[in-house]
Every structure is written in structure tokens, then in C-alpha cells.
Amino acid sequence: MADRQTVSAKKTHYVHTPDEKSKLDMLHFMKLTREIEDRIERKLYRQGRIVGGVYVGRGQEAISVGTAIHMEKDDVVAPSHRDMGVFLMRGITARRIIAQYMGRKTGLTRGRDGNMHMGDMNYNVIAFVSHLGDNVPVAAGAALAFKQRGEQRVALCYNGEGATSRGDWHEGINFASIHKLPVVFFINNNAYAYSTPMELQMAVADVAMRAPGYGIPGEVVDGNDILAVYDSAKRAIDRARSGAGPSIVEYKTFRMTGHSAHDDAGYVPPELFEEWKQKDPIVRLEQAMLEDGTVTQARLDAMQRECALMIDDAVDWAEKQPYPAGEDVTRDVYFEG
């Protein structure tokens, strides 16, 4: 895979760079994302305390966090299944997320759906469905409403490279590009869709190569460098908000796990994991911040403890939550007033 990468990993000059507070926020949310997912996948799932499957975005935290940090309160987001950071940054609590994974009544879907299939329009988060790429026309539709009503809102849409093979992806991006809708399509290109590598997913090295076919900008970015993510996302979101239309921003990264917790990813050459381990996005930001003096090691350790405590609390809380009542199974299929 590595020789197919077209991204320059060493870009150092950005149009937009985060201030100190933003850097600290991003570091916090990346760590919190890693912590909650590690806890879910490596502890709770293995202990049998999770109901159903677990899909994590380990190694890909910079993409969700470095993009979602630019969202305004009224913006709408349609995340995918490796975007835990988006949920946390939207203000959805770790407690509700763990409760969701445990199938509890106070999870985001009240036990109706599992894991990352969660949303809440009070936080402007559209829930994902298993049919990858379905959220592309849906995000375009939200952006259409913003344009119709003259609102300065944008929609952000996240997908993996596998989802780009689905017709909905094409139809949605084509529609959004014709009407210059305020939406940004982020591609988390983590090299594998379940067991399917890039070269069996598409005949090109970059999803962004399709952007000219829609007459929109396409950019390939190092998805493990949160400063690059921050910069590219800001430019694409600003462009969308200005009325200039959608963009495709493709983040090259690597899925440091199997497709889900049950999958040992035996089909991935082990050296790729080794190679990408060296590019860990959290470690990279920590090192940069240590070097420029934004943080001390003591501060980093404190942040880590803080995240762990938040998740401890969330797990304790979630496990005390009731399951939904069986007799409620038929409720809310339709509006009930």
C-alpha cells in the first residue's frame, strides 16, 4: 500500500494553524477517543459487557477530531463508524455512548440500535446506517435545506474509502456539486474495507482523483497529521460556508485494528501495522507540543488520567442504567404525538 500513497507527509506550511487552546482541545479529544474505544474494545467487549459488535478508529483519531473542531453549533454532521471523536466533540457524553454500547435505555438509541449507529438531532448528529455511503445524499439534503433557507450552516459527511464504491456516494456528490451545496465530504482512507484492500476497491490511488469528474476540489492529506487535517478541513469548510460548493478531502491513514473486534486482521501484512504505528497521530501531536513547549510531560500524564477517569465514570454510570423494557419494542415506529 505504501507505494500507492501520493500524499506528502512532510508538509509544514499551512494556511490555518490551531492556537494553543485548540491544540490542547484536539489533544484532549484524540486521547478521549482513544481511551473510550480502547476501553470498549479491549476491556468491556472482552469482558462480555458490550452488546453486539465493536468498530473502532484506532490510529485514525486525527481525522474526526481535526475536522469536527471547525464545526459551528448549528452545523450538521453525518459521521461514519470510525468517527467517535465527532460524537465527543459534538458534546455527546461518554456516559450515553457507553450506555449505547451496552444496549441501555439511556443510550442514544434507547437500545434500538447498537454501537456507532447513533445520532441525536439535538446535537445535529445524523445517525449512520450499515449501508455505507447512504449518508452522502442525506448530508447533501441537509445542505440543500441550508441553501434553500439562506442559512450559513454547513453539513459534514464522513466515509471510508470502501463506501466510495457505492452508487449513493456518486449520486450524492454529483447532486451536491451541481447545486454547489454547503457540504464537505471527508474520506477516511484507512487502506482496508473489512478485508478488501485499496487495489480491489478502486483502480486509482486516491479517491480524490474523482473530484475533477464532479468539477469540485479534491485534496489528499496525511490523515495522521492533525495539523494537516486541521488546515485542510478548515479550508474546505470555509469554502462550503461561503457558497462555493462541496469538496472531497481524502485523509490517508491506516486501520490499526481488524474491521471489528472479532476480526484479527490476519489478511493485513504485519509490517504495515509496524510502519503505521510509527505515525500514531496522538504521539505526533504530543511530540510537537512538547517540542514547542505547549505542554509538559506532566500535563500530558494529567490529561491521560483525566480521560481515564471520565471513562471510568461513564462505565460505572452506564452499567447502572436500565435496559429498555421489552413491552416498548413496538413503540416509536411511527410518530406517537
Binding site: H170, S177, Q201, A203, R210, G213
Partner: protein
Amino acid sequence: MNPSTSDAYSLSVPAGLTLDRTGFLELYYFMALNRKLEERLGHLYRQGKVVGGLYSSLGQEACSVGSAYALERGDFLAPMIRNLGALMVRGVKPVDVMAQYCARAIGPTRGKDLNVHFGWVDRGLIAPISVVGALIPVMAGIALEMKMKSKPNVALTYIGDGGMSTTDFHEGMNFAGVHRLPFILIVENNGYAYSTPTSLQANVTDLVTRAPGYGAYGESVDGNNVLAVLDAVRRGRARCLAGEGPVMIEARTFRRKGHAEHDDAGYVPRALVAEWEKKDPLDAYRRYLLANHTVDSEQDIGEIDAKIAVILEDAANEALAAPFPDPSIARENVYG
């Protein structure tokens, strides 16, 4: 139209195109047959003999004929609604088309389906459905079999500017690209999908800009120049056989009539139609044949036209003499 006026549309001949005199004349024959068959169907439509809609490819004959003429034995083709010319090249008889359009028992589907919705797998012809784009993954599948069995063949189908917006276009092209299939997609960019102009169909004017995104070779040609289309598809075919993957050829042309006979296309600016009338592919090709002395005189062309007239007269008589299907066949062949 006077061929000597300097601003007249004239065909340029692609460098390297080889074609003998028979070939030059066959291209004329098929384009003229395409045109005249549709004119005849127009008469039948107005006489109330055609059941259902009638679709015209007026002005697009070069695209259908040039592309199908580039194919060889064993290749597969699937037409869209405006590719009657391609069917003629592939050996479909005018009587088949007339009987099908008139819902008769001797039509290829015996009255079960309409217009060009018919095919014969053993003759390399796949029947289209009304859902545009659906043929692309299907023809990619046929190309997959060709690749698996190392056959020296290609699968070719067509898509309009409208069909480029579909799920199946995207999924089918992507699949063909991933597996480097011997698949040729002719993009007939004819300006309108029903009433929808290409500007509301895509945010690009050159639809072939989508080819690289699928790892496909892309090329744009003058779709009204039968020689240019033939040459591009022949070269595309050679690429496919060399294992270089799928080819997308955008043929720039124009739909000079409505979506179907009932549609007066009032939404199309008249000036645009007039502009394209001047680029009529059949007239231009006729002028080319005379100017290059492929034929000695209008008389040679007249002989071809006369032959077509006889074929169509016989075909119309045969089709209209045929009965409607017996109701009993309505339940046949749902399963094998």
C-alpha cells in the same frame, strides 16, 4: 446544404484509420438504414400502429453505427434506446424492430416487452431495461467472463449524459476499473436527458473527466463523425485486448428531437437544434464520400437508398401482417 461553402461542417478523417471501400459504403448503409427505419416508424406511430412510445436517434446515427462497426465477432453489445443503428450493424433485421414496436407476435419478445428491449445472448446482444445505467455492471460482468477465459473480445454499451448520474454507472465503472476489464462505455452526450440539460446533470461539461477516477482511459470524440467514432472505438478495443482496462469514449452529439415522439422538446432552444442540424452526420458523411471519390456519383448512393427503401417496405408489410400475440403466452417463460 452546399458542401462547397467554407463554413459547412465537414468530417475530418482520423490519421491511421484503415477502411476499404466496402467498409466506407457499409457505414453509409447502416446510418441511412437507421435514419430511414426511424422515419418509417414515425409514419407507423402517426398511423396508430406503434404501441407505446417511439424514440428517435435523429442526428446520433454516427455514434451508434461507428461504435458497433468497430466490434468483431464474439464481442458483446447492449444498446440503449437511441442505438437502433448499432442493432442494424449487429444484424438485427428491420422487421424485428417494426414488429417489436407494433407489439406483434413475431417481434423478438413476442409482445412481452417494447421498443429496443430485446436481445439474443447467442448473438452477443443484451437487452436493455428502462432503468438507465443498469447495463453497465451487466456488461462489465460479460467482460469479466471474457477476461477469465482470455477471450479476444470486448463488451460495449452506451450511456447518456443522464445515465452518468446513476448508481449503476458508478458501481459498474468502478468494478470494470478494479479488474481492468475489456469494457467500452460510449458516453453519448446529447445535451438533454428528457427535459434536463447536461448542466443540471453534472457540474462538468466534459463527462469524460470521470474516466480517470475509475482508472479508465477516456477520450472525447465528435459523435457526429462516424469515422472518428469508429477509429476511437477500434483503438479503445485494442487497449482492452492489451489488458489495459476499461475505456470511456465521450461522443459529443445532440438529440434533435424530443425524449420520445410525444415530446415537442419545447424546452430546447430552437437555435441549438438548428446549429446541430447543420452538423447532420448522414449529410456530412454523404458529402465526405463524394468529395473523397469513395463513390463516383450521387447515383451510387441512390442505389443504396433504393435498396433500403425496398427492405423497409417489405419489413413494414411483414410486421403489420403479423398477428398480435395469443394471450396464452402471457404466462409463459417466467421461469426456465
